[in-house]
């Protein structure tokens, strides 16, 4: 997944510096700490590891698209969908149409059945919401091209 976003990456390894474990991106003949790879890659690796390390429950993400190249957003969505297929519930907030569209593009019919999108509105302290099931999200984006942000 990381190799789709960072060319020539061979592996991820946890190396230590003193007693400190540090996740490295491993290339052909060198490695660099993920934290040095750029905010987008760092965010993607962190999100993927957070999801991979859980077997059940709920994961919350705030704007996972932040700092990310569109290709990395797509990989982020794949990691999220892989977690959903393992019965992890993911709740995320977003301002990104690209993220929404990647979710639709990468989802199976089963995935869409599990998807809900909530539009939120705060008026004088009162929060209201409008829920769209996955099929409605798909209609709104593919047929109407609505901006769902």
């Amino acid at each position: 997944m990381i190799a789709e976003v960072v060319p020539r990456v061979k592996d991820l390894e946890i190396l230590t510096e003193g007693d400190m474990p540090i996740v490295h991106l491993v290339f052909e003949d060198y490695s660099v700490p993920v934290a040095f790879a750029g905010d987008g890659v760092y965010s993607l690796v962190r999100l993927a590891l957070e999801l991979a390390s859980r077997h059940q429950g709920v994961v919350l993400f705030e704007e996972p698209e932040v700092h990310q190249h569109p290709a990395a957003i797509c990989q982020t969505v794949r990691a999220i969908l892989a977690a959903i297929r393992r019965d992890i519930q993911v709740v995320l907030t977003t301002h990104s149409l690209e993220l929404i569209d990647y979710i639709l593009a990468e989802s199976t019919d089963d995935d869409l059945g599990k998807l809900s999108l909530y539009r939120l509105q705060l008026d004088d302290g009162a929060l209201s919401s409008y829920r769209m099931p996955g099929s409605e999200v798909e209609f709104a984006r593919s047929q109407i091209e609505d901006d769902l942000r």
Binding site: Y130, E136, E145, D147
Partner: protein, 249 residues
Amino acid sequence: MSESVILCEGYFDRAFWAGWLKHLGCEDPSTRGPVNDALGRPVSQGQFMYRSKSEKYIRIVPCGGKPQVREQARRQLGQRNMDPRLVRLVITVDPDVNAHTSTEATGLTIQGVGNLAREYDPQAAETADRDIAIDSGERLVSLVRWEAEDPPIAGVPSRQTLERLVCAAIVAAYPDRGPAVDTWLQSRPDPPPVPNPKEPAWSYMAGWYAEAGCEAFYRVIWDDPTIRAQLQARLTKFGAWRVAEVLAE
């Protein structure tokens, strides 16, 4: 932050609305570059955004077919309190009935729109202007059916559609064009077995507006004052003109 929304079946209805709103004094901001809505989000691809004379936002949404118009109307009503808040929803449809043999109102009617609105506000009620008022009159839902009451005449399709409305206005403005188009259509070798209202419409486009092309045809006919007067007469008869004038204010 609010906007009015016009739902229509497709791109030709959208073009017709665009020409109509422009004629009524609305501004097309796309002439100055990319267009944003009241929230600053880009209005992209299939939708158009106009600004009324008082700078209110008017969004035109082609829905890709009649069933989708109804589905999108539900979505619009369901999220009417989300920004940009809905001021008026205009639902545009082709009745698709034969103008000369059908005696009852079919297709989506104002009663049907009322029933739709009551799914979201049980108090929704028809106004004296034949709109549906919801949320204690804070919002209105209007129905525009593309119709023309013209008698059977050469060059005007009988099915109640946008095409019939436009062809009827063109033939009323230029009576020689109808027979010419009809003669050409009658002369076709191996015509399709079932007449389609698009056949005469595209014939007027090809014969008199070819430079505009298909979609712009429905917009540029508004530039002709003679045709415009005929359109106005027909749209006024069914109340649609009033709806557009209110939008354009």
